[in-house]
C-alpha cells in the first residue's frame, strides 16, 4: 500500500512540472448554448477560471472578494475571468439569479455533468486556475481562505507581465 502511495506522489511531482493546456470540453452558457472551454479563454491576456457552485460558501466568498480585483485586472492587463459552475440540475437554474443577486460581472459557464471538473482532475470546489495568453495553465489553487484573492490578484498581474509564478 505504502509503495503505491509513494508511486502516486512521485507521479504527482513529475506532472506538476508540466505546462498544461486545457482539454477540449463542452460547457453550457447561461443562455443555453454549448461552447468549448478552449474557445472561451482570452488570447490577449491571462484568464482566470474559478470553479464554484451555488451551495459552496467559500466559492461565493472567493468570487465576491475577487470581484473588485477583477475589474482592475481587466482594465490594466486585459485579464478575463470565467466562473464555471459545477451545479447539477438541482441548482443550475439558480445560477443566473444568484449571479445577478451577487452582482458579479464574470462570464459564467455551466458544467452540469462535471466533465471539465473531471477532465482537470479537480477534487473539490473552490478551485482556481490561471492561464497565460498562450492558453497554458501556469497556476492552480484548490480551496479558499480569506486573503487568497490578494494572492490571486498578484499572480494574475505577474502572469500578465510575463513573470514566472510560484505557489
Amino acid at each position: 500500500m505504502k509503495n503505491l502511495f509513494t508511486a502516486f506522489a512521485v507521479t504527482l511531482l513529475t506532472v506538476g512540472m508540466q505546462a498544461q493546456q486545457l482539454p477540449s470540453t463542452t460547457l453550457k452558457t447561461l443562455d443555453g448554448k454549448l461552447v468549448d472551454i478552449k474557445d472561451q479563454i482570452s488570447t490577449e491576456g491571462p484568464t482566470v477560471i474559478g470553479f464554484w457552485a451555488t451551495w459552496c460558501k467559500p466559492c461565493i466568498k472567493e468570487l465576491t472578494a475577487f470581484a473588485d480585483y477583477a475589474i482592475d485586472l481587466e482594465e490594466e492587463y486585459g485579464a478575463k475571468v470565467l466562473a464555471v459552475s459545477i451545479d447539477d440540475t438541482r441548482n443550475s437554474s439558480r445560477v443566473a439569479p444568484m449571479v445577478q443577486g451577487q452582482g458579479w460581472e464574470y462570464t459564467v459557464l455551466l458544467d452540469e455533468n462535471q466533465d471539465l471538473k473531471r477532465n482537470l482532475g479537480i477534487v473539490n470546489v473552490p478551485f482556481t486556475l490561471v492561464l497565460n495568453a498562450d492558453g497554458e495553465v501556469v497556476w492552480k489553487h484548490s480551496g479558499y481562505s480569506p486573503g487568497d484573492e490578494e494572492n490571486l490578484a498578484e499572480v494574475v498581474a505577474k502572469v500578465a507581465r510575463g513573470e514566472s509564478v510560484e505557489h
Partner: protein, 560 residues
C-alpha cells in the same frame, strides 16, 4: 492505430511514462485523495460502544487519471477502502479499479466505451453521477455515443450497466436523448429575442424476473420531454417524465405507473435575481435493480427543490427527495442594494430570501380486500388534489454586508420544519395518515452570524455563531467557530457545538473540533481532532445514520 494502442498501454500501465512522452503532446490530469481516522473510545457519545470500530483505524483513498491527446482521451480510477470509514456505505469493501474508459471525439461524433457519467435533461429519466464525498457512484459501464447531427440538433445514446460498489447492477440500461436548440435552427426566433431549446428522452431497463407469485415486467421504460425558453432576463424551464409499471421494493411492488413534473421561472437583471419553481413526483423510483434500496443503482435523479445549507447546525436537518411521491414549491429572491445607496452603504448590501415547502401527494389507497380486479395499482392519485402531510419547509433570510475595508458580516435566519418520521425513519404515507398523532417532527429557529475581519494583508479572522432553538429531537444547540487564515498556506480552526437543550441531561454534551489545514497549490492537507455528532445522510428517500465518533482524522487531496 498502433501508435494509439501504444500510447494507451503506456497510459494504463505507467502513468509516469505517458507524461514523459512529451512529443505526443498529450496531457495527463488527475487527482488523489486519502482519508483516515483513528477512532477513540468516547463513552459520552457512545455509551455502549456499538459504533466503536474494531479496527480502531479506518482509511480509504482513490486516485483518478485522465489522459487527453487531441481527439482521444482515456482515464481510470483506483479506489481502496481498508476499511471503509464510519458513515460511508458498507458496500465499499476492498480495493480495485472501478472506473476506466476510452473516448474518441471528432467533429460531430463522440464515442465513449467503458465507464461514463451522463444525464438526460434534469435527470428525471436518467442520470449517472458520482458524489465521492458521500460515497455515491452509479457510473455506467458500457457504450455512449453523442452526435451533433445537424445544426442545433444533439443526440445521445447510452447502453450499459450501473456500478454497484465493486460489482454491476443486474439490470441493463438502454436509452436515447435528443435535444434541439430551435433558435440555432430558426433564426426567426432569434429576431424575436427568443432562445428556445426542447428535448426528449427515453430510457429502458431490462432485468430478468422469476418470481413465483407475480408476473413482473422484465422491461420497464421511462420517457420525458422538456423545454427551456428564454427571453431577455426571463427563463422558463419545464420538464415532464413518465414511467411505466415498475413494481419494486421501493413502492411495495405495486403496478401503478409513475410521473413527474418540474417547472421553474426565473428573472435576473440589474442586481435582482428571482426564481420560482413547482414540482410534483408520483411513484418515480427507478432503479436498475427492482430490489435495490438506499442509494444503490438509481437510474434517475429527482432533484430536491430545497436550498442546500452548509452551516453546521441547519445542515443537521437536510431534506432528501421522497422518490415515492412528493410535491413542493420554491421561491427565492436575491437583491443587491447598490453601492452608495441608502441601504447599500459604501460597498453595497446583498439580501436574499428563500422559501421552500414539500408535502405528500394525494393518495387514495386501494385496500387489498377491495382490489377485486387484482391489478395491484396500490393507490390512485389526483394531481390537482393537495397532499396533507407536510414533509419539510424552510423559510430563510440572509443579509450580507461589507462594512468597511476590513470588516464584513453575514446574518442568516432560518425557520425549519422537518418531518422526522419521513426523513429519518422513512415512514410511508399510509401509516402516517392512519396515526397522525405518531408523526415525529422537528421545528426550529436558527440564527447564524458570520463575521470576517481582516487583521492585516493576507491575515483574516473569521467567526461563526450559530443558535438552533427547538423543543424537538435533540433539543437546542449553540455553536461557535473561530478561524484564522494566513493566505495562501495556513488555516486554523476551532469550533464547539453545545447541545445544551438535549432532553436527556446525560446527552447535553459539547462537541469540540479543532483543525489545521495546509494548502500548497493544489494540494491540501487537513488534520482534525475532536468529536463528531450523529448525523443523517439521505439520498432518494432513504436515510442512513452516520454514527457519532471521536478521534483524529486526516485528509490529503491533490490534483494535477
Amino acid at each position: 492505430m498502433n501508435r494509439l494502442a501504444l500510447r494507451l498501454l503506456a497510459l494504463l500501465l505507467v502513468p509516469g511514462a505517458a507524461i514523459a512522452q512529451d512529443s505526443y503532446g498529450g496531457q495527463l490530469h488527475g487527482n488523489f485523495q486519502l482519508d483516515g481516522q483513528w477512532y477513540l473510545r468516547d463513552e459520552g457519545i457512545d455509551p455502549t460502544g456499538e459504533f466503536y470500530p474494531d479496527e480502531r483505524f479506518l482509511g480509504q483513498g482513490y486516485a483518478n487519471f485522465v489522459y487527453t491527446d487531441g481527439d482521444f482521451s482515456g482515464g481510470l480510477r483506483y479506489e481502496n477502502y481498508q476499511n471503509v470509514m464510519l458513515g460511508f456505505p458498507e458496500g465499499y469493501r476492498g480495493e480495485g479499479i472501478t472506473y476506466r474508459y476510452l473516448q474518441f471525439k471528432q467533429d460531430n461524433l463522440d464515442v465513449t466505451v467503458g465507464s461514463f457519467y451522463e444525464q438526460f435533461g434534469s435527470g428525471m429519466v436518467f442520470r449517472s453521477y458520482e458524489e465521492r464525498g458521500l460515497g455515491y457512484d452509479n457510473a455506467m459501464d458500457g457504450v455512449r455515443v453523442k452526435a451533433n447531427l445537424a445544426k442545433g440538433v444533439y443526440l445521445k445514446g447510452v447502453l450499459g450497466r450501473q456500478r454497484f460498489y465493486f460489482e454491476k447492477s443486474p439490470g441493463l440500461l438502454r436509452g436515447v436523448d435528443a435535444e434541439i436548440n430551435l433558435s440555432e435552427r430558426w433564426h426567426a426566433l432569434d429576431s424575436l429575442g427568443l432562445r428556445w431549446t426542447i428535448g426528449a428522452s427515453y430510457m429502458s431497463k431490462y432485468q430478468r424476473a422469476n418470481d413465483p407469485f407475480l408476473v413482473l415486467p422484465e422491461n420497464v421504460a421511462a420517457g420525458g420531454v422538456r423545454s427551456q425558453l428564454m427571453k431577455g432576463p426571463w427563463v422558463l424551464n419545464t420538464e415532464f417524465a413518465y414511467k411505466a409499471n415498475d413494481p419494486s421494493a421501493d413502492n411495495g411492488y405495486i403496478y401503478k405507473d409513475g410521473n413527474g413534473f418540474i417547472a421553474n421561472l426565473s428573472y435576473s437583471k440589474n442586481g435582482l435575481g428571482v426564481i420560482a419553481g413547482v414540482k410534483r413526483i408520483d411513484n418515480m423510483s427507478f432503479r436498475s435493480d427492482r430490489n435495490g434500496s438506499t442509494i444503490d443503482m438509481l437510474v434517475n435523479y429527482l432533484s430536491p427543490t430545497t436550498e442546500v445549507h452548509t452551516y453546521a447546525l441547519p445542515a443537521l436537518y437536510q431534506y432528501a427527495t421522497q422518490i415515492n411521491g412528493e410535491e413542493g414549491i420554491q421561491l427565492e429572491a436575491n437583491y443587491r442594494f447598490k453601492r452608495k445607496s441608502k441601504l447599500g452603504g459604501k460597498y453595497g448590501t446583498l439580501v436574499s430570501i428563500n422559501y421552500s415547502a414539500v408535502q405528500s401527494i394525494d393518495k387514495d389507497y386501494v385496500a387489498t380486500s377491495n382490489d377485486t380486479l387484482r391489478t395491484l395499482q396500490g393507490y390512485y392519485s389526483d394531481p390537482l388534489e393537495r397532499g396533507t402531510i407536510p414533509y419539510f419547509h424552510d423559510l430563510n433570510f440572509k443579509i450580507s454586508k461589507k462594512v468597511n475595508r476590513s470588516f464584513k458580516y453575514n446574518l442568516t435566519y432560518l425557520n425549519l420544519h422537518y418531518n422526522r418520521s419521513v426523513l429519518e425513519d422513512g415512514l410511508g404515507d399510509e401509516p402516517m395518515l392512519s396515526n397522525p398523532e405518531n408523526i415525529k417532527t422537528m421545528d426550529a429557529d436558527v440564527i447564524v452570524l458570520e463575521t470576517l475581519y481582516k487583521v492585516k494583508s493576507k491575515h483574516y479572522l473569521r467567526n461563526e455563531f450559530q443558535l438552533l432553538s427547538t423543543q424537538d429531537d435533540r433539543g437546542s444547540m449553540a455553536m461557535a467557530l473561530v478561524e484564522y487564515s494566513i493566505a495562501p498556506h495556513w488555516f486554523f480552526s476551532v469550533q464547539d457545538i453545545y447541545n445544551y437543550g438535549n432532553p436527556d441531561p446525560d446527552q447535553q454534551l459539547h462537541y469540540p473540533l479543532a483543525s489545521v489545514v495546509y494548502t500548497q497549490g493544489t494540494s491540501r492537507f487537513q488534520l482534525s481532532y475532536g468529536r463528531q455528532q450523529r448525523g443523517i445522510f439521505c439520498v432518494g428517500g432513504v436515510c442512513r445514520v452516520v454514527p457519532p465518533s471521536n478521534g483524529v482524522s486526516f485528509s490529503l487531496t491533490t490534483s494535477f
